[in-house]
Symmetry: C2
Subunit: 137 residues, 2 copies
DNA sequence: CAGTATCCAACGCGATACTG
DNA sequence: CAGTATCGCGTTGGATACTG
């Protein structure tokens, strides 16, 4: 429980400057955790470029995500100011999600990383196969 | 267990093109998992720009990582072809880690994301505080 | 020094059922 | 439709002890 430091988050943020992610108490690690979590990045990618989606649409687009995890992920991203939740008071409920300016910036980085991985996927997977074969010999 | 598809990894990679991370069986998700795992990204950041470090150095630099997780993370990144492990046959053992060309490219993206987060950390954390206050009211 | 092995606690996450 | 609540399993991951 070394994380239990008796400081508010804002005072913490002031004690850290760039390049400090490697430091164990840097609050940027928490933010990165949201962005790079199993579903966080995919939500950003799905909503990037000004897209707006409803909850059920996101669930369909982001294949494999459960209701629980999608709700949880969206709330975390909303808290950080990456996602805007717009609720229309109608029956049945209608809720839309989109990115804030901050979220769009984050999404650019995440999408860039994902694109790079997809572009180099063949090479990476062939590396992995080689590694497995070497081990077996 | 929907992940248990009866296809080799290479054939899988050929069935997917760019933009398919949102598809549930896209193998890029596995790779992203390694890169964006709790310690994977930090390893890439620590080694980026041609840095070379020994195991114990990495442990010191990446604060909070345990021996087990560092070893595990390094092995995963080595398998994907991101990290090179160089072992000198001396006593006591001397092992060095550095990035491959592929790893350097990945590290650029990860470091870019981390830098962006650190640069916007104050704003993000203030968003979070607002969210908490709104909830309390 | 650079790991591996084992054990166990904590958490992530999905399945299911329920609500406004 | 858009969630929340609860349960429970599987994985993650840290602590500790041991090895070449």
């Amino acid at each position: 429980m070394q994380e239990k430091v008796n400081l508010t988050k804002t005072s913490l943020s002031e004690r850290f400057t760039r390049g400090d992610v490697l430091s164990s108490e840097c609050p940027a690690r928490d933010v990165l955790k949201h962005i790079t979590s199993r579903w966080g990045g995919l939500v950003l990618i799905a909503l990037h470029e000004g897209e707006t989606f409803r909850f059920s649409e996101l669930r369909r687009i982001i294949q494999g995500v459960s209701e629980k995890m999608l709700a949880q992920t969206l709330q975390a991203l909303e808290q950080d100011g990456f996602v805007i939740r717009t609720s229309y008071p109608v029956v049945p409920p209608h809720v839309e999600y989109s990115l804030t300016k901050l979220g769009s910036e984050a999404a650019v980085h995440v999408a860039g990383l994902a694109d790079w991985v997809e572009g180099n996927l063949t090479e990476i997977l062939s590396n992995r196969n080689k590694a497995v074969l070497t081990k077996a010999s």
